[in-house]
Symmetry: C2
Subunit: 497 residues, 2 copies
């Protein structure tokens, strides 16, 4: 009798490859596709999504999964394959086709009106879409079988097993600590700390980005760097992990920071276990752990003083007229200005997570029924005032700023902050295990750090769950203290210099 | 009861979209993919090919096709849909999976050894692969049900309904006429007629290529130009038809000629009927008609004196040091040098088709059994001597030069020449119907020609068969006289100037 797990492997491989083809359709759409190709591309994606769904919901796959359900003789990677395949199948099988179609239609309509509403600062135009999407996603949560509250089922899509109550507990302490840091360390004169105004030629910024990615250990033989409207990383499969960045003539740090962020994502993908590359066990374990890799490079490496020691002379050489006399110290200060702003994606390392907490609180209240869509702008203003001391000018700079809700994506925002918390825990552990880390970073030598991340995180794929991986590496459960301690230490020292 | 033709349409649409996704996988592989992505890409393509095959051979599709087989009430586009869908399905169903697998394995092995054999001029290394591939393709022809001889079934893959005997009749007259033209018009001192040696900067060549494509009417909003090792055109679907070209610093005309060739292919794809864009009826009708569009622009437009009147001053401005004094006459002569060469892809407009006739004769003899693979190099030399008066130095410049056989592709070469013959017939007809064509071309105004091609050929999709389309446009069946007359007139006049 053939081993059902062995029979399962080709089906998992097929799914992996279809997702790789889908990834190329996305990457190309953002980077190379001519504008008039958009309708054809929507067709390609819809058809591929339909085939992927058909493969996952194929009863034959269910039978194979049932046949191996009780096997405890399998090695850990095979068990991870089964866990992830079961999870993907359960979600797909539980969602009625009618609901999937209604959601697709509702998000298509919502996106168009969200764009217009944002342009015209017209919340009432978007509010009915939000109400409809919350209703549909609540039905989705019911179909999926929410744990304690409907929002749990939405969180689970991005961070398996995570519950809203856990997030709330972590976020509550984080919020208070961050609000205090903001009140202590917000810059009095942010302009005085910023780098000189540009223009910084885009081609030079791109060359610098290549240099930084190469130093980080990104393999250009197995990837490429392009420019896109919004930076992202896409993996087409083993040997083909591509990053994009976006450069602005007047904001040098924005582009270089994006590059490091995406480079962190890409190193994770490039470091996944080669021998499991077409299996679920060989993929990244969770959205939050993925984000931890980007944030670790962006913030813990990129906004550190040792890194600025390496980068400052490079920038001074690249832009002799604007930055000829740039000191590591000045660069370090410029990279760490704390400045409350109403816009999440412009936020600094300290204020960023307050934006995320705000969205989490609002999303959770929307799904518990404590908040109606009509009340979102008011709730937004209240929380922004409470945590950041800001009065928001209008809804374009408030509740209409993010695309996520119009895409029907709820429960994703928390992963940004969880990524930051994981990053701080992993970084602390790396510092303990790599005593010369700062010296190496100051020399632009990232091999030790990259090797550590690869061994501890990347090469582990999803053999362990995110929570298990965190415990294996740090000996502790996810918490916010390392992150808060990191910010406190950095900004206290900066204030004393 | 639901109309089975209406039920068929979503299935045809799905196939079209999967082919579009496959086209992107190919384009990206040649243009943007990082080198290390090749193994993953092979996986993407294999899985997509498998799914396409599963869709085509799905019994449900067969039942729908059977249900509409006797319908004569359908409009011509629907009848073309059924003709093409039936054809694709018949081929897929008739080929045993074991044969498809054997062919895939044999070509994988053959390609590797062909590359080595060509590098080392080692025919005996490649000969056993050729023997094996001919055997497998003969089995394929048997499975498909060859018309009169096995080679017919292979021709039919690329040019539906075409028979070897017809090709032989056309090619025999063509061969004699061309051999005579070569003996009369071969250049005595080709170097004296060529453009000055380069270097011609590649960026300028690319800019000129964009200018030419724009003038031809290629829509850059619905396409793009890139550089690749071998020029090609790929359509991802409506609104997304991309061309590539290849530029050489020392050979200006090679790159510009490639651009016009691919531009001709691309105009065909961009001009296909919008309302049928996801149906078989809305696709290009055949490989040879596709080639007619590239050859018409490359040769009948691009190598004409009126075109040289437009282009010469543009080149003189672009390369003032090399081509400052370039006259249309000199450019025209340089573009029309007749010079026998052993290499097909370097051949001029006159000698090119003799290379194709040679390959056709050898392929046909291989499949009839009149020639053994071991005898190919000798047969090659004999025919090359007979038709081009050339002694081939070695098999690298002879029977090992083309990749086609190592890919298991037999019956394709004739379409190159059939494309040239169609092109000459269409061009003659266009001249009759567009009396000011030469004047317009000399001004760089191609709107009239493009409009004519669009109306007569592009917008017809595959509603008619290639043979029917040829008769509709020209009132005649495919023949070589227009092509021969075109070359005779051009070179007689050139010799007299």
């Amino acid at each position: 009798m053939p081993d059902p797990y062995q029979q399962l492997l080709p089906q998992l491989q097929r799914l992996h490859r279809l997702r790789g083809a889908m990834a190329l359709l996305s990457w190309d759409q953002e980077v190379t596709m001519p504008a008039a190709g958009i309708a054809s591309r929507a067709g390609h994606r819809a058809t591929l999504a339909e085939l992927i769904h058909a493969q996952i919901t194929d009863p034959a796959l269910g039978e194979l999964l049932d046949a191996v359900a009780d096997r405890d003789d399998l090695p850990p990677p095979a068990r991870a394959d089964l866990r992830e395949a079961r999870r993907a199948r359960d979600r797909a099988v539980k969602l009625p086709a009618s609901l999937v179609r209604e959601l697709a239609e509702a998000t298509a309509l919502a996106q168009a009106d969200w764009q217009r509403a944002r342009a015209d600062d017209d919340w009432p135009r978007f509010a009915p879409h939000l109400a409809r999407l919350v209703e549909l996603k609540r039905r989705e949560a019911t179909a999926l079988g929410a744990a304690a509250e409907p929002y749990d089922a939405l969180l689970d899509e991005f961070e398996p097993g995570l519950r809203a109550a856990e997030v709330a507990e972590i976020f509550d302490g984080l919020r208070r600590a961050l609000a205090e840091l903001v009140s202590r360390f917000a810059a009095r004169d942010p302009q005085a700390l910023a780098l000189p105004p540009g223009p910084y030629p885009l081609a030079t910024q791109e060359t610098l980005s290549r240099r930084i990615l190469t130093a980080m250990g990104y393999d250009f033989e197995a990837g490429r760097l392009d420019v896109s409207a919004h930076p992202f990383t896409e993996s087409m499969g083993r040997g083909d992990v591509r990053v994009t960045s976006a450069f602005h003539p007047d904001n040098l740090l924005s582009g270089l920071t994006s590059t490091m962020h995406e480079g962190g994502h890409a190193l994770y993908e490039q470091g996944l276990p080669a021998e499991l590359h077409e299996q679920p066990a060989g993929q990244a374990v969770s959205v939050a752990v993925h984000e931890s890799q980007s944030r670790l490079w962006e913030n813990h490496v990129g906004r550190s003083l040792p890194f600025c020691r390496w980068l400052a002379p490079i920038l001074a050489l690249a832009f002799p007229r604007r930055l000829g006399g740039l000191t590591p110290e000045a660069l370090y200060r410029a990279a760490n200005v704390v400045q409350p702003s109403p816009i999440r994606i412009e936020a600094d390392e300290v204020t960023y997570n307050l934006h995320v907490v705000l969205r989490f609180e609002i999303e959770r209240a929307l799904f518990s029924g404590a908040l109606e869509p009509d009340g979102v702008p008011e709730a937004w203003r209240t929380i922004l005032r409470r945590d950041l001391g800001l009065e928001v000018e209008d809804d374009r700079h408030g509740a209409l700023q993010d695309i996520h809700w119009s895409l029907g994506v709820f429960g994703y925002f928390p992963t940004y902050t969880l990524g930051n918390l994981y990053a701080a825990m992993f970084w602390e552990q790396a510092r303990r295990e790599l005593p010369e880390l700062d010296d190496h970073v100051a020399r632009g030598d990232f091999a030790g750090l990259r090797g550590w991340l690869r061994e501890k995180i990347h090469a582990r794929g999803s053999i362990l769950t995110a929570a298990e991986l965190c415990r294996e590496i740090t000996g502790r459960d996810l918490a916010s203290d390392d992150f808060i301690a990191h910010l406190k230490a950095k900004h206290t020292a900066l204030a004393r210099r």
